[in-house]
Symmetry: C2
Subunit: 439 residues, 2 copies
């Protein structure tokens, strides 16, 4: 890996997400050698992926080069690599670019879509956890309408214009709201020769309310907002199968849709080598102690989505969101320094800053520590909080400009099929050349 | 194709480039039915593609949805389709979405990279004529440096950091300049553990000067600018072969490079059905008369790169650039209306607004009608001209913001490998899912 041996202990961080980046920043200019590994060369701001899928933001504005985050820190080494296995015994990890030894290892690999073992759904549905996935969804949505123009078969056309989103968490709610606004504000103008009133957005939630992690008032308000926007909200329904067109559920309700977005669950990204049963929870998360130390592994830590710290307040571990990851990264950063200084470690305590979800224009719900509110103000708070946590000044400005433009013009201009998703829209001529340009 | 029959004559435009869009705008609300076909759903601003390849601009800011250009015009129909063949006898074209009849046909298919029949170069080199191609190049450049970090073989490392650009036209000059600035300003910060001084940018020109279409003073000044930036400029050298690493030329000079960007020539995109020998020129362009009417085809017109109008001033046809395409599109739009009104057509006269090329920060060359100038002022003029011709208010603002940021910060932040180009950087796990997301 060509990383020089240093007199400082080597801390290897796997993953440049919220947790990994927060940790890395805390280790800047400390007496440690930091090696950050990620399979992408950028940090990606997942909470805004749904806006990429719906043409509201350009993908590059919510991504930030990891090397730029680490610029100027002499003790930092970034490598573009996919970690395959951990060997705790010899303190070595094996990766796509070879083996690397560590003194301390921090697993911050985050989470991936969880299909709960349903292969059909995994193969035929769309996910929205990465930028390429979000761009694929953007292409598919636009291709569906281009194709709907070509068919005289009304059932086919309706299936092309039917968007079924499974999962009533923030991702599902925000995507459903954005699609509803596109249906209302953009489709009639872009497709005057298509009856886009027939387009449908169906949000399917297994539980008895949307945004189950939030307050009841937030849930019911979000539902009201969505219904106002014309989204069909289905509760207490679990999707059981999908063949690319027919969606079956555990009730007698079924859907015909070319597009199913699966936002019904996530699981921690698992790395081989540590998967001792007592360590892994149902969601593949690693059990950690109050210092994010993986149980039974002195030198291995886990933070963020991949870590399950069971506390009184959170018996199932902290929510798999940005905040716990950031705070755990910061706390671990300080603890690693204390550890090397021989000082006692400080247990992690989660400061819940509350949670928010936006449904659409002037429509958001917010549960803050002391106050819960919904509507226009919540929507503005949501925007400024997201701008604040977005990494990079240029990104903030560009995202802000886009939001202002979209708000004033009721528009989302990135309606571009840059990399066609459906085979029939891929140029035969360039297929060979560009088909390798995947992720 | 589900396009309603109308009492108005149907004008089919193939291609939503500069020419096609300019023509379509002139036909707004006229007594014609306009059908615009393009294999992409967006217009792309080719002059700025090199900034996408070098991370200076986000791809979405130089693309614009064609449907938005046509919004609000009741007589417009856009279809996402690749035209396969023209049948002039029956006035029908066949496309990827079926046949369509026309009363008048306008071929505005533009140009593509010309490899002059060299299959090795075509297979192993990078082109920069489309957004996906430019993004592939962006990925490859970044992947090269990530890989250079991993090898101890100095020859291999040098080959990874050697960028050979073939073709001394605007594209080659602008790309070379941008890469040189990245080498100077960004690489040392991003790759402190790599000796990026060894990175090389070689610009190979077959002729005896760069920018042969511009004035001698522009050529020599551009060359001075490039050499000041550390670009190796090679003249009177023709690249003869490339196997992916070894570049041979018609001299005893050769290069070892993993990246060869082929900007040495373009040819008109050819559509079957019209390719009668006397119609086609060396560059596949269709011979047209002063009204852009394809010789021998009353109802078929060609504009822009694909049209060769031989005049005294331009015996080989007009330059294959945006301006002739835009002006021919506008003139043809007016002529088609006159034609339908039974009025005589007006011959096309090209108003040469001059040409410009930018080499880098504060460095550009401009040949305007009455005045030729180089340096800072030319650079500002270049920027404002390009902002002006960029389609879309939001695009202009976002591009402007990026330029200001890049200028003030000596930075280019879109250093993102969103879709890895090299196989080894493509996630095995997502390969199946994402490899279809090509162009």
């Amino acid at each position: 890996m060509n990383i020089p041996q240093s007199s400082f202990p080597r801390i290897v961080i796997i993953g440049g997400g919220f947790g990994g980046i927060a940790l890395a920043k805390k280790l800047a200019n400390k007496d440690v050698q930091v090696v950050l590994l990620d399979k992408h060369n950028y940090h990606n701001f997942q909470p805004l992926l749904y806006q990429v899928s719906t043409g509201g933001l350009e993908p590059d504005s919510i991504a930030y080069p990891i090397r730029k985050v680490l610029q100027g820190y002499p003790n930092f080494y970034f490598r573009l690599a996919e970690v395959v296995q951990i060997d705790p015994k010899h303190k070595i990890i094996s990766s796509s670019i070879g083996d690397i030894s560590y003194d301390y290892l921090v697993v911050a690999t985050g989470s991936e879509t969880n299909y709960f073992g349903n292969k059909n759904i995994e193969e035929n549905s769309m996910a929205m956890k990465t930028i390429p996935q979000s761009l694929n969804l953007r292409s598919l949505i636009l291709e569906n309408f281009e194709q709907a123009l070509l068919t005289d078969d009304l059932h086919e056309r309706d299936a092309l214009m039917n968007f079924v989103i499974v999962g009533g968490g923030p991702t599902g709610v925000e995507l459903a709201g954005a699609l509803a606004e596109i249906k209302k504000g953009i489709l009639p103008k872009d497709y005057p020769d298509l009856d886009t009133r027939r387009a449908q957005i169906n949000l399917v939630q297994g539980g008895d309310r949307l945004l189950p992690a939030m307050s009841k008032i937030a849930s019911s308000k979000a539902e009201k907002f969505l219904e106002k926007l014309g989204v069909n909200v289905w509760k207490d329904i679990r999707v059981t199968d999908y063949d690319g067109k027919h969606i079956t559920t555990d009730t007698d309700i079924s859907f015909e849709a070319i597009t199913l977005v699966w936002a019904a669950g996530v699981q921690a990204v698992r790395i081989e080598g540590l998967d001792v049963d007592e360590l892994l929870t149902r969601g593949n998360r690693l059990k950690v102690n109050a210092y994010n130390q993986v149980i039974g592994h002195e030198a291995i830590f886990a933070i963020g989505d991949v870590a399950q710290m069971e506390t009184e307040a959170y018996p199932e571990g902290h929510p798999m969101m940005a905040q716990p990851a950031i705070q755990q990264g910061q706390n671990l950063g300080q603890n690693l320094v204390r550890l090397l200084d021989g000082k006692p470690l400080r247990p992690f305590t989660y400061k819940d800053k509350g949670s928010m979800a936006t449904v659409g224009r002037n429509k958001a719900v917010a549960d803050l520590k002391r106050i819960k509110f919904q509507g226009v103000f919540a929507w503005f708070v949501w925007m400024f909080v997201h701008l604040f946590f977005l990494i990079g000044f240029r990104n903030r400005v560009v995202v802000f400009i886009n939001w202002v433009y979209n708000y004033v013009r009721f528009d989302r201009e990135a309606r571009l099929i840059i990399r066609p998703f459906k085979k029939q829209y891929q140029s035969v001529k360039n297929k060979v050349a560009d088909s390798i340009a995947a992720d």
